[in-house]
Amino acid sequence: MNDQVEEFRSRILERRPLRLRGGGSKDFYGGPLRGEMLDTRSHSGIVGYEPSELVITARCGTPLAEIESALAARRQCIACEPPRFGAATIGGAVAAGLSGPRRATAGSLRDFVLGVTLMDGEGRELIFGGQVMKNVAGFDVSRLITGSLGTLGLILDVSLKVMPLPAAEATLRFELPQDQALDAMNRWAGQPVPLAATCWQGDVLTLRLCGAQAAITAACKSLGGERIAETEAADFWTALREQTAQFFAGDEPLWRLSLPSVTPSLDLPAPQLIDWGGAQRWLRGAVDVASLRDMAAKAGGHATLFRGGDKTGGVFSPLPPGLMEVHRRLKQSFDPYGVFNPGRLYPEL
């Protein structure tokens, strides 16, 4: 396996732009794909997994599916359910930092990252964080790396905190217009019920409960709604996580609005799907970028052109100059020769 790492190092030391890629499942995401491809899939495999320590460590090229099946065999999981979009690797998942349906209640992928081994722009292998739950030695670089879209270095290994699979689940469905659904999602999230995920679309609110059997039974009784059969429910949440649901089909641009969960329903000229308790709102269609970003910013959030569409207006909401300056300095220190995924996050990085 060291051969692979040495090969990565020699590619990096050539100081030419590299496009880091695992399974290629998120090629659609972020800015333009530039540079020669560096395929991480040769550096693969679970390095360590001890269920009673709640930690798994894997090489970057390990398929997410392989990790999740190893976890499931011991009744554990990555609780934020990062999307696989087909062939995602763990390295790519951490680089993109995306989380799935349970994010609002279980936490984001960044919350579960315990440590990374990183190769920086000068080919140095650096270990940040570790394999333990609590660690405040040094700055939290492993979580800075999470979601940086590979622009700060090549992730070699990742350690994640894992959680038990829920003992029981239930999915309930309610007919509700958007305003009432948003209110319900926020109200229920403030009560001690085992809420795991929510999704509103087309005047239907679907709600998922995860927890102890006794808690699920009690919550089903108190919340009401129509209970959905187990298989249908599992398919529904997988289709949301993997964006294979009908809402995501077709070539129309897909926008992602990340907003405070209590933001009132937005008057938008395109179909919407709302999840994460109101904090994530998906939008299909060509919209005016400037006014959408303005609307998101006014609400205290941001807008991302997630898939398709015209990327010339920028994929991610622009940063204020003060923040961009800090970003540029961080990029400069991790990747002084501009090797890693140039322009994938912002044209300046």
């Binding site: 320590e53 570790g130 030695a137 403030g190 959030g301």
Partner: protein, 490 residues
């Protein structure tokens, strides 16, 4: 360490230092008179934080009352290249708020307001000097609370919690400060103000919020924080189990986790710790046990009953010789009061103590505790152990008497051995107290030169002149070569 005698000499030197006089004059222009301390007797209360073994007298203490004054102080110090150390309640245990000589202590003690509570969004916007527990008290009428609960929660501030990424006894299930603070407004050393995080669940660009949390006041000064509020569980119950050996207690912890249970709290205390605590708070602990475990379940009544029953079976299967389940909220709180009072309780039976903070993979707990007992004999110093068993965070409390010549140094050396041991078994030198100045040299054991360089580069991205809390948390190469020399000489 600085003695009283050194202070007098330093104060005399400082009194006539023209740089200091010029700095005081400039600070006096941007601060009300009562918000600037410079007389030696006024500076004394700020000479150390909770790590009393280290102290230093700063040139001045600034107590600004609003953002503009904080920014003005930072700008003055930036222009004059004077170091600044931000300070909350000063309860930190690693010397993160120890002053820098010829520097300014920036106290956020007057930033005590809870600015906004949004029960529907489950968020509270607070100033950095708000006490941890005050948030939970203020939001209690909404059925909510702020989850991280460090033992010092009565006194410690949210700004300090952000600096140290504080945890507590419930963080295996509810997370650390990192998982419960969603947004910060931060002043950089040059006076620029940035916002990191937001009231949405993520933000474009790098996760600077994660970087800021646990950065020990070295990247910026928190002006305001938004914290996440958690619905209060309907009920909670704790089971207390006695074990004849720490090995059995460790196995019981692993068995609970392996069974798919994430207890709301899972704490271990050894015999020396329970004895100290029992004398102090009369929590009803079993004093004959080699170790006791406290395992808490929270949720609905049905859920708690189910989980307590399951944990009880596992505890017994793994050698618990006695189980007691709290039968009332008062009894539950009494069991926890003992654990939360462990540090002051040990403080009662020894003139001085030092609290260590290693985190280890849990499977090594028996080995580590055995080794600590051996070291205790070697160094002729007693050591009580309290352990956040669920997440592997160990707090050995080394007891010593600073009045005995050489004993402080012995305690420090003992502590260093424990930290090295934590790293050896695959853990870390600090789980939740921070590196500060206490453990800065042990950073050289855990990190390579290249990794430490990267930490310096991260700091420089926020604070290029290295003025904010300099010398803390990240050692310079010379620290490491000195440390390795001492190590090889031993």
């Amino acid at each position: 360490m600085t003695s009283q005698h050194d202070y007098a000499a330093a104060a005399a030197r400082d009194a006539t230092n023209p740089d200091r006089e010029a700095l005081l004059a400039e600070l006096a222009r941007v601060l009300p008179a009562a918000a600037l301390l410079s007389a030696t007797e006024d500076l004394k209360p700020y000479e150390c934080d909770g790590l009393t073994a280290y102290s230093a007298l700063p040139w001045a203490v600034a107590l600004p009352q609003n953002d503009e004054q904080v920014v003005a102080v930072l700008k003055v110090c930036y222009a004059r290249q004077v170091p600044v150390v931000a300070r909350g309640a000063g309860t930190g245990l690693s010397g993160g708020a120890t002053p820098v000589v010829q520097g300014v202590v920036l106290s956020l003690a007057k930033f005590m307001r809870i600015l906004e509570i949004d029960p529907l969004a489950r968020l509270a916007r607070v100033q950095p000097g708000v006490r941890n527990l005050a948030i939970s008290e203020a939001v209690a009428p909404h059925g909510l609370y702020y989850a991280p609960d460090p033992s010092s929660q009565i006194a410690c501030t949210i700004g300090g919690n952000v600096a140290e990424n504080s945890g507590g006894v419930h963080c295996l299930k509810y997370g650390l400060t990192l998982h419960n603070v969603v947004r910060l407004r931060v002043a950089l050393m040059n006076g620029d103000v940035i916002e990191v995080g937001s009231h949405a669940l993520d933000d474009p660009g790098y996760d600077l919020l994660a970087l800021m949390i646990g950065s020990e006041g070295m990247l910026g000064v928190v002006l305001e924080a938004t914290v996440k509020l958690t619905p209060k569980p309907r009920t909670a119950q704790v089971v207390m189990a006695s074990f004849d050996s720490v090995v059995d207690a460790g196995d019981a912890v692993a068995a609970i986790i392996a069974a798919g249970i994430i207890p709301a709290g899972l704490e271990m205390m050894d015999k020396l710790a329970t004895a100290a605590v029992e004398d102090f708070v009369h929590a009803g602990y079993d004093l004959t046990a080699a170790a006791i475990l406290l395992a808490e379940s929270d949720g609905t009544a049905e859920e708690v009953a189910e989980e307590i029953a399951a944990m009880s079976v596992l505890l017994e299967q793994n050698g618990a010789r006695q189980l007691r389940i709290s039968q009332s909220e008062a009894e539950r709180l009494k069991y926890w009061a003992g654990r939360k009072a462990a540090f002051p309780a040990v403080g009662r039976i020894t003139p001085d103590y030092m609290c260590m903070d290693g985190t280890i993979p849990r499977k090594h707990v028996a080995h580590v505790l055995t080794r600590i007992a051996e070291l205790s004999a070697e160094f002729h110093l007693r050591c009580a152990n309290v352990f956040h068993a669920g997440d592997g965070n160990l707090h050995p409390l080394i007891m010593f008497d600073a009045r005995n010549p050489g004993e402080t140094e012995r305690a420090i050396a003992f502590g260093a051995k424990i930290l090295e041991l934590s790293v050896d078994v695959g853990g870390t030198i600090t789980g939740e107290h921070g590196v500060g100045i206490e453990k800065v040299r042990q950073m050289c054991v855990q990190f390579s030169r290249e990794e430490l360089d990267k930490f310096h580069a991260v700091k420089a991205a926020f604070d290029p002149l290295t003025l904010l809390n300099p010398g803390k948390a990240v050692p310079y190469p010379r620290h490491c070569s000195e440390y390795r020399l001492i190590g090889s000489a031993r």
